[in-house]
Subunit: 344 residues, 2 copies
Amino acid sequence: MSPIPNPRILFNHIPEGFPEIDKTLIYDTTQTIDIDNVSLDGGFLVKTLDLSIDPYMRGRMRDPAIDSYLPAYPLGQPLNGFGLGVVIRSEHPEVKVGEYVCGFNVDHAHYFVRKDLFLLEKVDNKFNLPTSAFVGVLGMPGQTAFYAWHEYSHAKPGETVFVSAGAGPVGSLVIQLAKAQGLKVIASAGSEEKVAFLKEIGTDVAFNYKTTNTLEVLKKEGGIDVYWDNVGGETLEAALEAAKLNGRFIICGMISGYNSADGVPVRNLWQIFSKSLTLSGFIVNRLEERWGKKFREEIPARIASGEIKYREQIYEGLDKVPHAILDVQRGKNTAKAVVRVSKE
Amino acid sequence: MSPIPNPRILFNHIPEGFPEIDKTLIYDTTQTIDIDNVSLDGGFLVKTLDLSIDPYMRGRMRDPAIDSYLPAYPLGQPLNGFGLGVVIRSEHPEVKVGEYVCGFNVDHAHYFVRKDLFLLEKVDNKFNLPTSAFVGVLGMPGQTAFYAWHEYSHAKPGETVFVSAGAGPVGSLVIQLAKAQGLKVIASAGSEEKVAFLKEIGTDVAFNYKTTNTLEVLKKEGGIDVYWDNVGGETLEAALEAAKLNGRFIICGMISGYNSADGVPVRNLWQIFSKSLTLSGFIVNRLEERWGKKFREEIPARIASGEIKYREQIYEGLDKVPHAILDVQRGKNTAKAVVRVSKE
């Protein structure tokens, strides 16, 4: 077969505020690939199926001189991130044609070659779930929720947890884990439609933070023992204010500040010592060793049985990546954002 | 003996910013006490010797409608706090004349009666240390340093700790505990004279934060594993910026915000998840059960031997309480502030 186009999403410009379509990120169709003959050098060729679009990606669109926990995207190169693909050629002894590979090393391109399984793992889809589930509820967001909830919540039945961005892929699994453990769950989201989903998955007190005052809700409900923070800023301030003694705060993300150069100020951190609070930040892959096995044993079965629910918003086609990224940064996506690059 | 004056410090007015001498706090000499005949009702009469003046006291000078971890001072009543006195009369079976009582329930008055040992304990001064030591390095500040360091630092030899307000009674014990454990210690203070004391107690990198940029120092020294925060605000921001992966932050206090109604903003809390940091707040008496015994076994002996050094600034006379409180809030005291009310 002769070379075919290999469309890619290139990182083209470092944004100051929100990323801009066709400036920050470019859909490039100039490259071609000969999938029958491209050199594998002992590795394997992957056809990309599903890409996870996540809040953290904004942090990689930075000047590489700024150090952070994940490397900056190099200018002019394809984005990469969490995704899933199917192997279509292989010279690698452990990777066979037709197998799925999934993880943090998937290019935003139709095809890509890898020499090894660094940041990738083979997926055993024994419950025949949709492949997109492996980049969402079974992928990085689901692992984030599961690992950190078990590691840091120290949750006891009867306690109260507040989850911000509760309708997202991380928050919605946290809510369901907490409910299954007998907690009272308060959760916020940014639209009535998301609030309806919060109720559907068992949230006791679901509210739209754009129309309802977060602090008033938290106080009316008698305070919180655990806070799962996806948001930072004013929401974190309200949670600090409403925390009970010995509260545990799991600091998962702070999307309210990702697109502002100055960050979003939090003014009442004295609540930390005043109430003996613990705030725990974490990086999900550092918890893999402790919780990965339990996650893979439990969660796919609980999804297949319908006990755990999840939602996705599928963007069809690689060219939709910039739109999906912007929706996620602006909170406009209605569910876990997945770009379907190809069907199998 | 006929009644004698019993001077007291009364809480007279809720301050908005810094407390004001003769307005917020008043030295009142109108009350008298007949120390031979005052009713003890089964309790005991204490002659106050030493009063600890601490940053947290500002938090009690508030509207009692505002809930917090320590009760508000009632208007028109004497201040109380951590202190030490000698028992001069007793009807209590466990408390004898001549014994010292020490703790969080000492009135800012020459004499006071207690029915029981609630928030007080008897002091065994077996090394014959100055009584003032029991309200400083052996009192609440020393316990704060010792208990929380052992509970939260997870310190390993070779790691680096940064201590803000390092010349204070809490910070200076933290520094000496960390040095004894083989850590590299960076510490800041607000005058050259305090910086000299930091060096005297073994600080590896001591600097004046008023003349030297904190973040530059922390970066130059290669970052920090542990941060002991007495300050909050910009100093906490610098520590977040300079933290290494898996850093531990012990949030002991945030004096930079105590006298501002709006609090001092911290803008880079995303470092918490970016670097997997843990921030632990605590209330010292909740750690008493775990660490109190070890503290009383170890620290008096280490002070008596001269291994652990401490400094005090003695204010002579109860009437100096308001001045001492203001000095502490403004950072003008040169060492642990103690008001000596009476000598034995």
